[in-house]
């Protein structure tokens, strides 16, 4: 199709050049209003097509980077951002990123509970399971399959973070564990 259009265009240019030199042949080209309008419409369609193809074509240029800055090392925890992003999109139970995040917090929380309560790690795990380790209903719910989140708390969570309740619950649980480590849960 493109070849035919190109051939048609080339013939039209040649005819135009020929007529500009031998003007006595100009009468052979139909110059009616309808014919002129047809050509204008064809040009209009072509301009729209070209403009649309421009929108689809990305501009390519070499990325020159930032050589003026030295190597920037990542900060511990940055690797979890991606896991958290996946975890936000999936359901609470039976999914790998969420399990991974929960286990990592649970490990830290169990050690903190064992320290604060002066009990064994397995006893601390049991407290996590039953939710006895904290007064915070969201943190207790986040680290246990058996603890239910009261509807009022669920509504509050929804109100504070309408688009990412999981992330809000994650941040809150980490804060509660941090509190437990720093102040033994009194702070």
């Amino acid at each position: 199709m493109r070849r035919r259009l190109a051939a048609f265009g080339a013939v039209a240019v040649l005819v135009g050049l020929f007529v500009s030199f031998r003007q006595e042949f100009a009468g052979l080209i139909p110059a009616t209003w309808v014919f002129v309008l047809l050509i204008a419409v064809a040009a209009g369609v072509q301009s729209v097509t070209t403009a649309l193809s421009r929108r689809r074509t990305p501009i390519r240029e070499t990325d020159t980077g930032d050589p003026e800055r030295r190597y920037e090392a990542p900060t511990p925890g940055d690797d979890l951002r991606e896991t958290l992003r996946y975890a936000r999109r999936s359901s609470r139970r039976g999914d790998r990123p969420r399990e991974q995040l929960r286990e990592r917090i649970a490990t830290v929380a169990a050690a903190a509970v064992a320290d604060a309560e002066d009990c064994s790690e397995s006893a601390a795990r049991e407290r996590l399971r039953t939710g006895e380790w904290t007064d915070d209903p969201v943190a207790a719910w986040f680290l246990s399959d058996e603890v239910r989140l009261p509807p009022a708390e669920r509504a509050r969570l929804l109100a504070t973070a309408p688009f990412s309740q999981y992330e809000a619950a994650f941040a809150r649980t980490v804060r509660v564990v941090d509190d437990l480590v720093s102040h033994g849960g009194d702070g």
Partner: protein
Amino acid sequence: MSYVDAVDTEHWAGIGALAFAAFALGLPFQRPSLFLVALVGVGFAAYARFGDAPAADLTVERELSESSPSPDAEVTVTVTVENAGSATIPDLRLIDGVPPGLSVSDGAARLGTALRPGKRATFSYTVTATRGSHEWEPLTAVVRNASGSRERVVEVDAGTTMRCLPTLEASSDLPLRGLTTPYSGRVATDVAGSGLEFHSTREYRRGDPLSRVDWNRYARSGELSTVSFREERAATVVLLVDSREAAYRAPDEDTPNAVERSVEAAGEAFSALLSTGDRVGIASYGPEACWLAPATGEQHRATARRLLADHPSFSVSPSEEPFYPSIALRRLRRRLPADAQIVLFSPATDDYIATVAERLNAYGHQLTLISPDPTTDDTATRRLARLERDTRLRRLRSHGIRVIDWGERPLAVELARATRRWSR
């Protein structure tokens, strides 16, 4: 010099729409001005297709105001680029390959210009020197035709290296553990003999020095006895730097990463230990194996200084070589002298290095961990990583490993605090 084939930048893609639109409007309304606009569009479309990006033949000279500066010195880098080819380069963008371990403190390491054949362009910038051997990467030249519709990338190497040796300033004394050599030194042992700290008294034997006879006791009871002190001996210490990819962590972009801090601390510890008569060695635990056997003396100090500056395992960015942790640990164990204690420098940002520390300690190389803290708590994920590290350090302490959690304060302050804590 390496070239990449010229590519279309697509900067002028769609310029034909202008010509067609003006033509489509101008034709039915018979407006000559719109026909002129259409001609301009046709002109630009033709201009965009005119000429290719020239295959630039460039030569680069790079000059450093100082090639072996001391740490934190400002070094001016002057780059001169010459068009050695026969074609004019209408659009040339030059980006210098500043080594990843250096940051530009003044000016920009780039220039945009046009160059006729035989002409030169010069630009300069200032970098702040940091410990290490810094090799410049090739200069990147982005060459375009006059309209910018075609682009080619050329890389030109000029082979420049800057070497910055650490000063190896001694910090306060590094508190060592009880594992020692038979040579005299400063580590108080449980062996009775000559020294400073009282150990015990025993019955006088012929040949005991008179200065160690307990004359007060003789005056009281008339019995001759000899005072023994804790014998002070030298230690063999291996400073082990964790240089795995997981150790390259920093709390923000302005703070040196944990490996840089570790190497700096290892340098200080090396100097301090050497000056107190201990035998000191250096090793790394990472993809690039480094080993300097424990020894003493000024020549040993000079070797260590060069090693800390040049060895790839102490680079400011992680090595891309593969790392086999178990093999590296086995090799390290084979090399460690039986009486060597270890000072491990690691941010302890993962469980694996904690296991390595526990194993080395269990093998009898009494281990002290100096852990530069790269964590922060400005987001929930970072706060969790900080909590995980704290838990890890607590676990190591509970396993009998001495841990110095090195925050933002100078290492000497942390060492003094740790010494007070451990001597209680």
